[in-house]
Symmetry: C3
Subunit: 138 residues, 3 copies
Amino acid sequence: MVRTERIRVQTAGFADIVDITREVAEAVQCAGLRSGIVTVFVAGSTAGVTTVEYEDGLVRDLQEAFERMAPSGRPYHHDRRWGDGNGFSHVRASLLGPSLTVPVEDGRLMLGTWQQIVLVDFDNRSRRRELVIQLMGE
Amino acid sequence: MVRTERIRVQTAGFADIVDITREVAEAVQCAGLRSGIVTVFVAGSTAGVTTVEYEDGLVRDLQEAFERMAPSGRPYHHDRRWGDGNGFSHVRASLLGPSLTVPVEDGRLMLGTWQQIVLVDFDNRSRRRELVIQLMGE
Amino acid sequence: MVRTERIRVQTAGFADIVDITREVAEAVQCAGLRSGIVTVFVAGSTAGVTTVEYEDGLVRDLQEAFERMAPSGRPYHHDRRWGDGNGFSHVRASLLGPSLTVPVEDGRLMLGTWQQIVLVDFDNRSRRRELVIQLMGE
């Protein structure tokens, strides 16, 4: 079985971290996937996907780590050339990566108890994002 | 074919890097997977998975890189709120990511000669980890 | 359907970033994959795979970010022991990761308009790389 779903997420940008675990779990349930993998993929070059214990403190800690990794105040060649002002967003997105693979067993995402799937929107403005949730298995 | 296996790994925590290539290769062999993908996934929010040439020097180099990326001596909002003292572990785990996909051909992992699959346990204590090895293909 | 293809890429090393989107799209077309996933995997421990808006400015921005993450001028234990001089290459490769999963729908990679698949070769010399493009689905 291959099933391709999409979910829409409104973000505030600037490393906004959005918990999408429930939406992914619902896609698994709706498709009736018992055993296999879920690919979570964000189309676009200024956002990424990972997992985190979703609580306010860590959300801020992670945002500060992104700021150290690719500071928003640095000059970027991308901005000098295109004037978008979101060079830092692109760099962070490439480092984090756009895809995540989560195994499913007995119809359930095999996540830890304190492990949530998150979209990180690095862009320098609010965005309406479309995520691909692709289910493969039986 | 979809097959979900688990392996247990004892770690020392503090960015302990454990070579799990043999265990993953054995899972491929036991399942009789000839062609397809292996998803290596660690449930939990303070560990990650990647590949590295597994030798003492690089193990230490990688540990030092994690220390620069999310220093253990910094204050973290997570620790202030929950007192776990492992804010740095969570941040590193989110940046590295919990999943790795390795293609299989003719029953063999398509790794380079000096490329091993490793679990990195970022937690601030010794842990007994359970990893998911999911095989999909023919 | 499982199909395993290989593509060869000549790189300059030193964080050379090569756009391989066309080659991956061609592999999808040749295999006749309509719906499923493509796993892009680089065998070897001094290269990685990600996505980026492929334009000169960002290519340089990303290279500078890798230089900050694991500076080429630092001493590495790997180099002290093995004399390869590419400790920084290994560390960067482990942090970026060797695999990327891209979903396919209606025979097309579900990438954003300004999102290209790239190989990053971190080694300290020119290399001829072999990438695995594995297609799974229907």
